[in-house]
């Protein structure tokens, strides 16, 4: 070979990484063939460990009213939150349905203008017409309660994190873990400590929804330019004055974004807390799914979608208004506003009085009903009858070609071989620390007696992630390259990202009935939108100058994509992979509701049957372990250089403001 001697470092890490990757594959394949079906850790539903966890539950139950910690702390919290929920629920019921509907319209009018008022009224009427008035109000009350608490705690914490580096560095890892934790995981501990019902639901929602409130507030405070703060300090402002007169006003826009995201995440989670007996629309869905009545679930799903749209539009419009108003400093419109507010309050009061007189018990009149139950059930039946061949073929193809072989490999390999491959892979992809985390998480899985179920879930997650990335890359690349395509796709993605995750179960189960594959489909639908977005943003973010240079050199569109755009969008792509895998895991375990089995089902069973509590609790923890492991492995990959010495962009998961709702 006439290859010239290049003054390059002997072996580049990128090449060597590929080498070690291939070596690992070969060695593990040989070991797998030689040692399969040995060193297995088969699942045992009645493991002693699960029973001891049941014992823990029994201890908690026995001591709930005698142990001081429980009496003073836990019960106080539980009772005050229950009080908050009862208060909100009571107010909503007391207002009666005409009162609530008109109040919603009034809020829309005051915060977002006339069109929003109409949308709000129409939306609330829809809750009633669907026959879901009470459920909707319950969901709303839970959401409001969780949002109020999240903001009351999150904004001050965010301000603190924005002003103190020390606090920021303490809270960031905590938030990281909170955000990758699949929601399913902490329902069980919440139920154990706070009993099932609204208080536990609100606290679980709080944990889920508070990170964006803290993160985005801190981001906003930190985003205030140093010069502004310096100027204020040089004028002799106290820290408090700097905060109130400079930082908060200037960060307002960002903080409002955080509020918006907190609301959407709270709604998404409140629906899921149906699993720990929280009332509302989520419970309607769960019960309908248990009876495999897609039509009934559809009505509730529709109500959730409507509520999501209302809350999202309201918050978005309101924040845009905040913007316009601060900028135009409209002094004379203040009086106009006052008139609008007074009028709105007046109309609401009238509506409440009318409501009290006409609809004495506050319920929506039964005479008015619209339901999609029959049409949806008919459609589902039609799909089953006519598309069965197609859907079944797809299901069998994915299950047979991807899922089953992978699951077989993971569950019939010696446990230490799987562990070894995972740890070495983590080391190759991301480095030492992720490798250690991986080892610890896998040992945890063994300790929790859930190795086999963990592997089954992992197989689903890997298949779901692969499909998600395939879909996300394809659509992301397409929309980065074709503006028209992007224009069509964008509103769909926007809508998809405001939907609470539970809703995605419905189309999946309508098409594929209850199987592991159904959960994978739901996970793909759920995780694809943010992945598509990240891919598109990454490719569009490639500087025009570089694209032009490559074009001028005579690149074909394909060369441009493979040699320039994709490599340069690497960081976004890795972030997309990371988000994709975390989201897929979250949804695959929720898929326990639609036949996914394994860890997700263990969690659900734990809520349903007393004797399965211990296994459910262990499964919840296992899911967290899997989540942490997958997150660390994929997150580290983004930290490797495109050129050495390049500063690593720190993008904690979930801070992508516009990437919308994350986790399930």
């Amino acid at each position: 070979m006439a290859a010239p001697a290049l003054p390059l470092a002997s072996l580049e890490w990128r090449t060597s990484r590929r080498f070690w990757g291939v070596a690992l594959l070969i060695v593990s394949a040989i070991l797998f063939v030689a040692l399969r079906n040995q060193w297995l850790l088969p699942h045992d539903d009645d493991a002693e460990f699960f029973k001891s966890l049941n014992g823990l539950r029994d201890w908690v139950d026995a001591n709930r009213s005698s142990n001081l910690v429980f009496v003073l702390v836990v019960n106080t919290i539980r009772l005050s939150i229950a009080g908050l929920f009862d208060l909100l629920q009571g107010i909503l019921i007391g207002l009666t349905w005409p009162g609530v509907t008109v109040l919603a319209g009034a809020i829309g009018l005051i915060f977002a203008g006339r069109r929003m008022a109409v949308v709000m009224v129409a939306g609330f009427l829809a809750f009633g017409l669907l026959g879901l008035w009470e459920s909707s109000l319950d969901t709303l009350a839970l959401t409001l309660g969780a949002v109020v608490l999240s903001l009351a705690m999150g904004i001050p914490l965010g301000i603190l994190a924005g002003r103190s580096d020390r606090f920021q560095s303490v809270i960031t890892p905590v938030l990281d873990v909170m955000q990758i934790m699949p929601t399913f995981a902490y329902l069980a501990p919440m139920a154990l400590i706070f009993l099932i019902g609204p208080p536990a639901a609100i606290i679980a929602t709080l944990i889920y929804a508070i990170p964006p409130a803290i993160r985005i507030t801190a981001l906003g405070i930190r985003g205030v330019s140093g010069t502004s703060v310096e100027a204020a300090v040089s004028l002799g402002s106290t820290r408090w004055q700097v905060l109130r007169k400079v930082q908060l006003p200037m960060a307002k826009r960002t903080i409002v974004l955080g509020v918006n995201q907190t609301i959407m995440m709270a709604l998404s989670m409140v629906v899921i807390t149906a699993l720990i007996a929280a009332p509302g629309l989520g419970l309607d869905i769960v019960q309908a799914l248990e009876r495999v009545n897609v039509g009934v679930a559809f009505d509730a799903g529709l109500a959730i979608v409507i509520m999501a749209i209302l809350l999202d539009r309201l918050a978005t419009r309101a924040s845009q208004r905040v913007d316009v108003r601060t900028r135009s400093g409209a002094a004379e419109s203040t009086r106009q506003r006052r008139v609008v507010v007074l009028g709105a309050v007046g109309v609401t009061v009238v509506a409440v009085i009318v409501g009290q007189l006409v609809a004495g018990d506050g319920t929506f009149p039964d005479a008015l009903r619209i339901t999609f139950r029959e049409p949806v059930n008919t459609a589902t039946a039609w799909v089953e009858a006519n598309l069965f061949g197609l859907t079944n073929a797809l299901k069998n193809a994915v299950t047979g070609v991807l899922l089953n072989p992978l699951q077989t490999i993971l569950t019939t390999s010696p446990w230490w071989l799987v562990g070894l491959v995972a740890v070495v892979a983590a080391f190759i992809v991301s480095g030492l620390r992720p490798a250690i985390v991986t080892a610890v998480c896998l040992l945890g899985l063994i300790g929790l007696q859930l190795w086999q179920h963990g592997m089954e879930t992992l197989a689903s997650v890997l298949v779901g992630t692969a499909i998600t990335l395939l879909v996300g890359l394809t659509l992301g690349v397409l929309s980065a390259r074709h503006d028209r395509f992007a224009a069509v796709l964008r509103p769909i993605l926007d809508a998809a990202q405001t939907m609470p995750s539970f809703v995605y179960l419905l189309p999946a189960i309508a098409l594929f009935s209850a199987t592991r594959f159904t959960a994978i489909v739901a996970a793909v639908i759920y995780a694809a939108p943010p992945v598509i977005r990240l891919v598109e943003d990454g490719i569009r973010g490639v500087p025009a100058t570089v694209v032009e240079a490559a074009t001028a050199a005579g690149s074909t569109p394909r060369q441009l994509l493979w040699k320039v755009q994709l490599p340069m969008a690497r960081r976004s792509l890795l972030l997309a992979a990371n988000q994709g895998i975390v989201l897929v895991l979250a949804m695959v375990v929720v898929g326990g509701l639609v036949g996914a089995g394994a860890l997700g089902y263990d969690v659900i069973a734990g809520f349903a049957q007393r004797e399965d509590f211990g296994k459910g609790l262990a499964a919840g923890v296992s899911i967290v372990l899997l989540g942490v492991m997958l997150d660390r492995i994929t997150q580290g990959a983004g930290g490797r250089p495109t050129g050495p010495g390049r500063p690593v962009a720190v993008v904690p998961p979930g801070t992508t403001i516009q990437a919308g709702v994350t986790g399930a």
Partner: protein
Amino acid sequence: MNGTTTPTVSVKGLWKIFGPAEHRLVGSADEALTSAELRQRHASTVAVRDVSFDVQPGEVFVVMGLSGSGKSTLIRCLTRLIEPTRGEILLDGEDIRKADAVRLRELRRRRFSMVFQHFGLLPHRRVIDNIAFGLEIRGDDKPTRYARAQEMLSLVGLEGHAGSYPDQLSGGMQQRVGLARALAVDPEVMFFDEPFSALDPLIRRDMQNEVLRLHHEVGKTMVFITHDLAEALKLGDHVVIMRDGLIVQAGRPEDLVGAPADDYVADFVRDVPKSHVLTLRWVMREARPDDQLDGPEFPPRTVIRTAVHAAAATDKPIRVVDDGRLLGVVDRAQILAAIAGLEDG
């Protein structure tokens, strides 16, 4: 200049209009409107307006103008990175506007190359892979392209940086990589769009010398865009000055300095030290019978500054001789006047 060779690049009646009126405007009565009127009436910008010029083989052809005058648009029209609205662009007689996508790529891969103001390097590739990029996409095999890239690397004085990544290099070094990348494909014409505007003055001067040296060594035809008059005069064999998409003057550097076509050009050249640009041809006079015609002899293209020494050493006038023919003479008085920057020595 002799008129017999085909120009390497020949541009005739080139227009580029941005905006909704792009294809309505040329040829209509409104094409004569000023930019402001066009923008108002048609929401369109005429970036290049009826531009024609020829670039001769082996020369450095400079396009100069203030920012917004349409230079970048013009140079991008030449390689069809921007699709021209109208006009003819010939490369060695071939009409580039008629090339289909495949032919155009072929031209870009083998006949043109371009150096950009913001370098346009690929940050995820090492220097050597950046330089080899053009060779890679046209399908040269690995040993060939690395050998060639290595050669280019030495040519621009970056030996030892093959394995670096672009962001580890200074701006000047990055642009050397850009230069090497453009040279690597051994193009017929190199296009430069303000390649040194983003660099510090000192480094800019180095890079200009580098281009002169490379031009000397590899003898490529170059089309060079700049907003810096000194750069234009230093590098250009021919210079055109653009304003609002129009060419307001074209000529050799000394033509511009010696006889600015209008106030716009005059404004540009006012502070140029004339003796550094003007040649003897510009200041010579007819020989008179009383002149002593045995003084030092120079060709007419000699820059005045170069003749100063000779003029100082004798009190006889300098003879300006082309091909053995006496064109005229230059007195010390005329040289001094040029150095002092006086009009019409």
